[in-house]
Amino acid sequence: MAKLTLADLKKLRDDKKREIEKRDVEGKTTRIIIGMGTCGIAAGAKEAFDAFLDEIDALKLSDVAVTQTGCMGLCHVEPTAEVIVPGMPEIIYGHVKADIAKRIVNEHIVKRELVSGYVFDKPAADILK
């Protein structure tokens, strides 16, 4: 590798920072939790996951953590994603295809507006148990 100049080092740091920030949970206030049960994966949860990551990358959002969980019990509306933004109600979205994932990032997380038509209630507490 060639020797770095000051400008190279700054650029390298900025590039790598975006990568390593994805690993970190500290200081991340917004969370997207994607249901990755068999039903979710079959319905396209992986594509939705990618779309979330891409859009967050494109918008350079640094305080969003994208994590996964098992089946959330809403198998009829998979893929599902729970979105937790401070100061907003915790929302579970259903039918989250790639385009909806993009909209969730732009509308719910950036503009703080719910993406209507895709909001589904949490299952009853006894089912969650």
């Binding site: 000051l6 990568e19 390593i20 994805k22 249901g35 994590t67």
Partner: protein, 595 residues
């Protein structure tokens, strides 16, 4: 699919020795076999700190903390967690109450910790310079080279209040400014990584987990005081730390962060590694410098201090690993930021290696001013097996003990000194009711006698004499005269020894005599070791009222010294007894007692 998970495998020496490397390879294989190698990245990091639970695997950003992981568990973690998003609950950290902790932030071991020195340890891959750079690595160097004057750097250190973490707590900025003030064509920067206290591994873990932080700090120091060469003196018993340091130095050189014309600034700086052969005295700075010069590691009287006249007679800034690791953060965030952490006279944090009779042994970093109670009971989880806390030893062979009465003392350099112990490099050994204080003291004296370089007689002869008195007492042959003599010898050693090794060697004796004189007296007057540790004084006997005459003890006795008739009380022949304790273990009726 895109990368969504990061599997962090602890690669500290502790976990490595529990086959962390197999775990790492097993994850790589499973990701491939289960066709998800694009979805998760496996990273081997430095020590996570929670060594008691090792080997540990973290899955991020899901914040999952898997403990006591085996290589064969990788299959299940990949199939369940990585593919299906379900945490493997049987491997998640549980406290004794069996409550499963699904998040790292909930784990009490980490709650009170503040990570400055260990900021990257257990998060980045120490063998990849890019990961360090991504965490604002070499940003402080940029600032020091291009935005600050050397005096500004020293000023920042002064504001921060950083004191040397090697044990003595000398203000770091003063060392630097002494060296800077001495005119000279050649100056040196040295990192003291000759960590030698029994049970201490702070420096090793820092170097294993974040070697670049030390390299960056030394380069900053070089620029500040006008030095072009640096040495890291590290003991040869730390092969992993040496290996990672070598990689880090190589990568820094390749990237132009070490070598000639660093980042185009015109400043040249190089770092070399020097291996110590494991002599404890080489942790003393003048002995260390002698050893780098290729001489026998023996201390010389100070002054002149190394900052003025050090390596090959040239001004030398020598700091300990932990001190160095603090410096990039101070330059980056400012001295005032650092000074907000800690107490009035001891700023920042301190890394401790918490070991001994403690539930959560491991490596911790806490703000100065935290109490021992918080460390032992909240972070450490208390003493295991329902035993009673007796004392905590800080400062290793140069330190002393702190008893239960002083658990609420805020820990800093000055308070520990007031209690007759020292901060030391950060070893913290917890002792319970089964530990004999005389025996522990003898252990430390044995260590210092062994490690004395022999140059000055107070240390060479005094240490041996102290040890002899202690041995006499633990053999049950002590008198009060021994105590009086130990006090005298201790004082003489403190005053007359050449270096800190001899000056502090009597500290364990003086400290235990202060807090546990009654225990010494029990050995001397009653010929009894209250903790039952000193074997020479141990007497096993059978309580006739409790003995059912089953004969099990006689069967287990390797010396054949237990006699009796079935269904009648048995008797131990104490002359022939080898004090192995097998009878006590064998007896189901608790009829065998010590002393």
């Amino acid at each position: 699919m895109k990368l969504k998970n990061y599997i962090l495998v602890c690669g500290g020496t502790g976990c490595e020795s529990s086959k962390a490397d197999d775990i790492y390879r097993s994850f790589m294989k499973e990701l491939k076999d289960q066709k998800v190698d694009g979805e998760a990245q496996v990273i081997k990091t430095g020590c996570f700190g929670f060594c008691e639970k090792g080997p540990i695997v973290k899955v991020l950003p899901d914040d999952s903390f898997y403990v006591h992981v085996k290589a064969e568990d990788a299959k299940e973690i990949v199939a369940e967690h990585i593919i299906k998003g379900r945490q493997v609950s049987r491997l998640l950290y549980k406290k004794s109450d069996e409550k499963i902790h699904t998040k790292i932030e909930d784990i009490d071991f980490y709650q009170k910790q503040v990570r400055v020195v260990l900021r990257n340890c257990g998060f980045i891959d120490p063998e990849n310079i890019n990961e360090y750079i991504a965490r604002d690595g070499y940003l402080a160097l940029e600032k020091a080279l291009f935005e600050m004057k050397p005096d500004d750097v020293i000023k920042e250190l002064e504001i921060s209040g950083l004191r040397g973490r090697g044990g003595a707590g000398f203000p770091t900025w003063r060392k630097w400014s002494f060296s800077k003030g001495v005119p000279g064509d050649q100056k040196f920067i040295v990192c003291n990584a000759d960590e030698g206290d029994p049970g201490a591994y702070m420096d090793r873990s820092t170097l294993e987990g974040d070697p670049h932080s030390v390299l960056e700090a030394m380069t900053i120091a070089g620029h500040t005081v006008g030095a072009n060469r640096g040495f890291i003196y590290i003991r040869a018993e730390y092969p992993l730390a040496i290996h990672r340091l070598e990689i880090a130095i190589g990568q820094a050189k390749e990237n132009g962060l070490l070598g000639d014309d660093i980042l185009g600034s015109g400043f040249n700086f190089d770092i070399e590694i020097r291996l110590g052969a494991g002599a404890f005295v080489c942790g003393e700075e003048t002995a260390l410098l002698a050893s780098i010069e290729g001489k026998r590691g023996m201390p010389v009287p100070r002054p002149p201090f190394p900052a003025v006249k050090g390596l090959w007679g040239k001004p030398t800034v020598i700091n300990n690993v932990e001190t160095w690791a603090n410096i990039p953060v101070i330059i980056m965030k400012g001295g005032a930021w650092f000074a907000k952490i800690g107490t009035e006279k001891s700023k920042g944090t301190k890394v401790f290696a918490l070991t001994g009779k403690i539930k959560n042994s491991g490596l911790i970093e806490v703000p100065m001013g935290i109490t021992l109670r918080e460390i032992i009971y909240e972070i450490g989880g208390g003493v295991p097996n329902g035993k009673k806390f007796k004392a905590v030893q800080t400062g290793g062979p140069s330190g002393g003990v702190i008893t239960a009465d002083y658990l609420d003392t805020p820990i800093d350099f000055d308070n520990l000194a007031k209690l007759g112990s020292i901060m030391g490099s950060g070893g913290m050994i917890v002792m319970d009711e089964d530990d004999c204080m005389v025996d522990v003291t003898k252990f430390y004296l044995e260590f210092t006698v062994d490690e004395s370089c022999g140059k000055c007689s107070p240390c060479r002869v005094g240490g041996r004499q102290l040890y002899n008195h202690l041995e006499k007492i633990t053999n049950g042959e002590g008198t009060e005269e021994d105590i009086r003599k130990m006090r005298l010898i201790g004082k003489a050693m403190q005053k007359a020894s050449l270096c800190a090794l001899g000056q502090t060697a009597p500290n364990p004796v003086i400290s235990t005599l202060q807090y546990f004189e009654s225990e010494y007296m029990a050995h001397i007057k009653e010929r009894r070791c209250p903790a039952g540790k000193c074997k020479k004084m141990l007497r096993y006997s059978i309580v006739p009222e409790k003995c059912k005459g089953c004969g099990l003890c006689a069967k287990k006795c390797p010396a054949g010294c237990i006699k009796g008739e079935i269904k009648k009380p048995y008797v131990i022949d104490s002359v022939a007894c080898v004090k192995c304790g097998a009878c006590e273990e064998a007896c189901k009726f608790k009829a065998v007692v010590k002393n």
